[in-house]
Symmetry: C2
């Protein structure tokens, strides 16, 4: 008889049911042809004594093997290893203890080398630059969680828990429409809104609907890198125009339009990413007129509308859009915290409907519970209170950061004090290079990050975008100190 007693190992410490452990090991023995087809297995009582387990365990084990088709039960005769199993390839099962899902796959797939981004693993004691993200420590996390819980306790909340709207929770869309109409001069209703997982999904869907191979989209010579990458993935052409102190140079756009047809223009109108400049009123009207004349879309990514220090924000292009040319994208991520991926894509109804259709096959729907929590957050005025609170903090941080930059580095860096947003566009004196700074800075535990991404078009502007909002006062001093030591070393 096959050496059953020594061929099985039982681990009573693990959570896994004994019968399952045994059936797995049976399967392995059958695959390895140590138990060949048509072998008669011992009766359950016999095997239970051999292995020192309850008879029920063997019965369950055999049932499992039967159900899976590894054994067959012949009435009045017994249980046999199934005669109908295909011949197994011996080689495949040598390494039966190896990680089944290892490093590499057994098939071909498409790799996209354009999508490579550098990720800097977090090391203790290091400070990391960012391109302007909010300070998560200021997020009203507990308030939102309390609201979330309150919503989950509602009597009929189960109505929101199943498969629902592709467009996002209707209550949130209504509240958002009112809120944006009031604060941004829009004139929309809930049917103009698709709630997305942050702005990125809005950009992704817009690209999907606008661009295919051989289509053209216009962006700035400096541009938000993720937008570039998203557009490039559609295999469309990126045409770049100059960005000056008033934003995209619309005259260049006009010249392009006179030569060829374009599908759209991507613009971060309020604060250009990465240079932080604001698109002037004149350029806005020009761009809107061009879009009407040449029938292209304007993807307006209004990622940090709420952060404006000197005055109220400038109304977006979407507020002057009478012809339905603007796809208006925004989110609460920059305003609240990136973990809350509640964003919106706003456009004429027919575009929103098509975007929703595509969305179904990406993630099927949003998180209705989180959407309801944010509906409450907006409607109650909490969002505005939060914005007012962090604005004061960020303004103070901006002031300190810019003051120190000016005091210490006026011969090395030049910049405009940003009127809004969470970052500074910092130009480095051409006698220096960011490559060197990045290298030396690591010695002082300062990680500059992927500075090359701010010059996708290879203009040699020698500038990067530095976010100041995540650092409190003490951290700003520390950041400047490390930068200072870095610059000192380079000078010597």
């Amino acid at each position: 008889m096959f050496p059953y007693k020594t061929s099985f190992q039982i681990d009573r410490k693990t959570n896994q049911a004994l019968y399952l452990q045994l059936s797995n090991q049976f399967i392995q023995l059958i695959k390895e042809r140590k138990l060949v087809p048509e072998t008669k297995l011992p009766g359950s009582r016999v095997l239970s004594e051999l292995l020192g387990v309850h008879r029920k365990t063997i019965v369950a084990c055999y049932e499992e093997l039967l159900l899976q088709g590894w054994v067959e039960s012949v009435p009045k005769k017994g249980t046999f290893v199934n005669s109908k199993l295909p011949k197994l390839n011996q080689q495949s099962f040598n390494a039966d203890k190896e990680i089944l899902l290892k490093e590499s796959v057994g098939f071909q797939f498409y790799k996209n080398y354009d999508l490579e981004r550098k990720y800097f693993k977090h090391q203790d004691g290091f400070m990391y630059l960012n391109d302007g993200v909010s300070d998560a420590r200021l997020t009203p996390t507990e308030d939102l969680a309390r609201t979330y819980r309150r919503i989950c306790s509602r009597k009929n909340i189960y109505e929101e828990m199943s498969y629902g709207s592709l467009f996002g929770n209707e209550k949130l869309r209504n509240t958002l429409a009112n809120y944006l109409n009031k604060t941004r001069g829009l004139n929309i209703n809930k049917d103009n809104i698709l709630i997305t997982r942050g702005s990125q999904m809005g950009i992704f869907l817009s690209a999907k609907l606008l661009l295919q191979k051989e289509d053209t989209i216009i962006v700035g010579k400096t541009n938000y890198t993720s937008a570039d990458a998203t557009f490039l993935q559609t295999k469309a052409n990126l045409l770049r125009v100059t960005v000056d102190e008033n934003g995209l140079v619309s005259d260049e756009i006009e010249q392009i339009c006179q030569q060829q047809s374009i599908k759209g223009v991507y613009v971060t109108s309020h604060h250009h990413h990465p240079t932080t400049v604001t698109l002037s009123a004149e350029r806005r009207i020009h761009l809107l007129n061009l879009s009407k004349k040449y029938n292209f879309a304007i993807i307006e990514d209004d990622y940090d509308y709420d952060f404006n220090y000197n005055h109220s924000p400038i109304l977006p292009l979407a507020s002057h859009d009478t012809n339905g040319n603007v796809i208006y994208i925004g989110s609460v991520c920059k305003t609240v915290a990136p973990v809350y991926r509640i964003g919106y894509l706003i456009a004429a109804k027919e575009f929103v409907n098509e975007a929703a259709k595509h969305r179904r096959f990406i993630d099927r729907q949003g998180d209705a519970l989180l959407e309801l929590a944010f509906e409450d957050f907006i409607k109650s005025g909490d969002l505005d209170r939060h914005i007012n609170k962090v604005m004061k903090v960020y303004k103070a941080r901006r002031d300190l950061f810019c003051q120190l930059l000016k005091e210490k580095f006026s011969d090395v860096f030049s910049f405009e004090i940003p009127k809004g947003g969470m970052a500074v566009w910092l130009k480095l004196n051409d006698n220096y290079s960011w490559e060197t700074i990045a290298e030396i800075a690591r010695k002082y535990k300062l990680e500059i990050g992927e500075w090359q991404r701010y010059d996708n078009a290879d203009l040699g502007h020698n500038s990067i975008r530095i976010g100041f909002a995540t650092y409190n006062e003490e951290e700003i001093y520390e950041l400047i100190s490390r930068l200072s030591r870095t610059i000192e070393e380079i000078k010597n």
Copy 2:
């Protein structure tokens, strides 16, 4: 002088700031060329008296117009409508009170008619069939919300609130790896997992990495419609093979492989969608061997692994995958509730890494707070307790539903009692048609839904998939009753 007094309307009831209302109306007047370039605007005191507002309001209004570039300030002279504005197209601004973002856009975009799905608007008093979704009323919503809140109160929670991992929260991935290794016989670690927004995102990403135009993927002649649609969007070819009582006929797959190269096979191994049959052990080994021999991927969508009534579930193909051919997709949606879009894509590390790179440009990252809540839910054993609880309920509902179907409709319907899952595959006697049933059923306030989607390949099997899990006992009786009246009417 321009009739300022009568040209402006102030609404003190709305939330919108007065100076913003006025500046918006100024802008409109300038656009409509009612106030032409170089017009001198009244002094702030004069205008404030004319309009009956505080002087500060006018000052703020003029500052806003200045910032936006609509007016210019000439020292010692006054404020003038900007001389440098481009000529405006009169026609565009006639309908200034129209919804700016209307029905239709001012540009061209791609419309995909394959993505049309019917959505049945919810009408009072109606009962709706579904293809097997969980009963949201059984979801432990408050428990999860309590856990969510507890997590949000943690001292260092802000560390999870910013831009984080593309792969999903590491703690969840570790816990999930342990859990799946124990319960599904996998042998993975956290690096083999990408947390996705439900299974759909897993299918979407897999399609993106595997398929481009002219690639081929094999699916069943009956198949999960959303998977079909997702694959078709890549412009790849769908080749269909027969599905019998043992699942996909692997011999047909072998024949195809001998003729042409294929990129993958999509399989819902545990319970085929829509027919509910289980892929036999023999077919599983055959399919795995074929994938190794012909280097294709197996996308194993294990959407309802946990629901098995007679015995423990059958281990997935992924548990026997020594060569890295299987992309294992699953989610907690079917087990808990569709609103919680926590799913996973599991494969060899290199594939998961590439999928994560793409994910960045879709929604950037998941919801780390919800992921942590589910980590706790799984680790504490709550998930398993929930599964055990609902399994009993669903089994009873299955039994009742099937018993009534047999009692009342044995001459009309035929079916196998499903060993697991939340739906029945119901074949209709060929003397009848679902089209007629759907039409008549509406009179009895029963919506059959989009029955055609179960026969994508036009086989004429005259069957649909009906979910029973969402209905309690009373509702099952009511459903059967309405179906009964429908069938009665058709018979007469």
